[in-house]
Symmetry: C2
Subunit: 418 residues, 2 copies
């Protein structure tokens, strides 16, 4: 399948790698952070701002866009790039499979699995939606979640919370929808193993995941051969927190010869030491000559740590979600705009930052907007936080080239203690 995405390793420091790939004419420098555009919008930001911030790849959610406005509508617009007004110079787009939403949000598993909305690394953004017909305020996603009616090896039948109709998510359907959406990178349908799960549960889940991923890859090949645009395909390694199951999953999925590999089922509520241990053991299971993506990660320190262990791609709602709570990421640590001391602080939000927000506004103004519940506050905080994350990635790439990633990790851990 190689050839749909051309990945080059530029330099390495220990297990950390600095690389670059191009997919459908769009270039991504790794390690890279992908802002989340759940409903075909990076919350509050215009396409011009997304491009202006230097975003090279975003993640869109197949489940949400399939349901609304419909993949056929997006296809009619010429795909997501065109629908979102991103144009040719815009970022590459990776779509998830939709499985995460259908399974996890439906609360199908009751074995103590935390709902994703409660976990820090949640990939499905739960921002309060304003007055959409089917607005989903944060924290109530369960009531608005798809209701699973039947699940078997073929796929999953669910009732949509938007129109009450039944939909079937199969590996083939997921991949077809992703192709319709115009994704540059399509991902395999998998089952995101919840935490905790017994070894036997994970083993059963893995069998389903591997079968679905194989079918996803086949459907992807078929569509790529039929169509002009050659999209890339990422497989997802699962296996819970069990090293030997992760190893098995890595080995089986290598056979798919995917353009890239993701680690799924991490940052789903497990304790941080277990997360780190599993990540460190799992990263080397992914082929070295393909981009490696750890889904739903994470905090600044998590990202530097994962990059140090050879991961290349990251996505997380933290920069956008924290903006909503009035929190700014700065190089001195988190800054809570609701804090009374910022009321008359006329200095720039993040000292030294050159983002469009820090060069134009003061802490006092942002604090006022947040307290007054003004949209502009969310918008400006989102813009700064994404700039911070993109700046973090630039510094990671430089640090790898200059062989000083440990120092950067130390600095970030000091600013963001666990």
């Amino acid at each position: 399948m190689v050839g749909n995405l051309e990945f080059s390793l530029l330099s390495a420091h220990g297990r950390a790698r600095r690389g670059t790939y191009s997919v459908n004419g769009r270039t991504v420098e790794t390690p890279a952070f992908m802002p989340v555009a759940t409903q075909a919008t990076v919350k509050t930001l215009s396409s011009e701002e997304i491009v202006g911030l230097g975003v090279q790849q975003i993640v869109c959610n197949t489940y949400h866009l399939w349901q609304r406005p419909g993949h056929d509508v997006v296809e009619g617009a010429g795909g997501l790039h065109s629908f979102m007004g991103l144009g040719e110079g815009g970022p590459a787009i990776l779509t998830d499979s939709g499985g995460f939403q259908v399974f996890s949000l439906s609360g199908r598993r009751g074995r103590g699995a935390r709902l994703p909305a409660e976990t820090e690394g949640d990939r499905d953004e739960g921002w309060p939606e304003l007055d959409g017909e089917n607005a989903v305020p944060e924290g109530t996603s369960r009531e608005r979640a798809p209701i699973v009616r039947r699940l078997d090896s073929d796929g999953v039948l669910f009732a949509s919370p938007l129109d009450g109709k039944l939909y079937e998510l199969t590996p083939e359907r997921s991949v077809r929808v992703q192709h319709s959406l115009g994704a540059d990178i399509v991902t395999a349908l998998d089952e995101c193993t919840p935490y905790p799960a017994t070894r036997e549960e994970v083993r059963t889940s893995l069998a389903l995941t591997h079968s679905w991923e194989r079918r996803s890859a086949e459907e992807h090949r078929r569509l790529n051969e039929r169509n002009e645009t050659r999209r890339a395909f990422f497989a997802i390694v699962q296996g819970g927190m069990y090293p030997e199951l992760r190893a098995e999953s890595g080995k089986i999925l290598r056979e798919l010869d995917a353009d890239g590999y993701a680690l799924g089922g991490l940052s789903v509520g497990e304790p941080k030491p277990l997360y780190r241990e599993t990540l460190e053991q799992s990263a080397p299971l992914l082929p070295e000559d393909r981009p490696r993506y750890v889904m739903g990660v994470g905090t600044p320190a998590d990202i530097v740590h994962a990059a140090a262990h050879g991961m290349d791609l990251f996505d997380c709602v933290l920069p956008t979600r924290n903006a909503r709570n009035g929190q700014l990421f700065t190089w001195e640590g988190k800054l809570n705009l609701r804090n009374a001391r910022f009321k008359e602080d006329f200095t720039q939000p993040d000292p030294g930052c050159r983002c469009p927000v820090c060069t134009q506004y003061t802490r006092a103004y942002l604090a006022h907007l947040v307290r007054a519940g003004e949209f502009l506050g969310l918008r400006l905080a989102t813009c700064h936080n994404l700039y911070f994350y993109l700046q973090l990635m630039r510094r990671i790439r430089e640090a790898i080239e200059e062989r000083r990633l440990e120092k950067l990790l130390e600095r970030v851990r000091t600013a963001y203690p666990e």
Copy 2:
């Protein structure tokens, strides 16, 4: 008082006038529309966008900013221009007196007066505020409104809904707060006469208004003499729907020699024919050589009509409020983005419009954002609607110069029938 604001009449067509003024180095071409920035933000828009759209003057609300973040905080920032990050090239700022909020929002009068939130031309924007500590969702402003404890000829004592503390609004206090906020144009404290009101009620209200306006003017002169910046001062003509009382108010207030004159107490729930009649009778009462401002007006047709009768300045929440409801102003009339037919309409929102939204996005994308309750939808709709209003003003100014305002009025009335 002339000299704080230099107004020049450039051309006239019937009673309509095309003019220009400069205040504190900022130039405004009239007739002009002023977007509303209640809480020191034109809802959703960055300062860069406000300037980029060509906005020459905005209205900020004294009551809101006095209460939060506090006029002392804004003064500490160097005034509203600086606080909002507008810089030197930004628009002029007019502040209201705060009286409208304290009196009308408090529901002090029970005689069938419609609450401003229900009227089309309401100057106090009631957008749903997100998660501010004291967020005021639209339609609930009454519960969150100031509670009037004492009202006499001196002023009004009220309890703030934000901190429960007592505040006193007097003419002197209003003007001092406006000077602290750094307004280029300060307005007199008046009582906005509700509709309906008996002749006797209006007469009583007028006596209070005139005494307050005189005191406002005196305090303004005192502060202007003391300080370096020479701010301008607008008086407000009241008189309800009674022509002879309007005439009396106009005559008395001319004595204040204000830099500009406003018509208050219009668009407060009266029937449209009565509104038009009162406006037509009242406009000539205002001095010809000063800018004339009709507060809280209005629809596109109302603005062209008022300009045809010699009014120069307008402010209204319609472009921003309608954006929230998914309505776009276009030259073909209102466009409701929730309409099913836009779901797959990949044409530009307002055909021929050159605003940043119409040149980048499709109706289908905006419709999707609105249905999905995404902030970006509000933001893009707001941006387009303000561009439309500013474009309307450009066309009014051209039409006055080219002596074809009647034709423009006809076109706008066809697109926006009552």
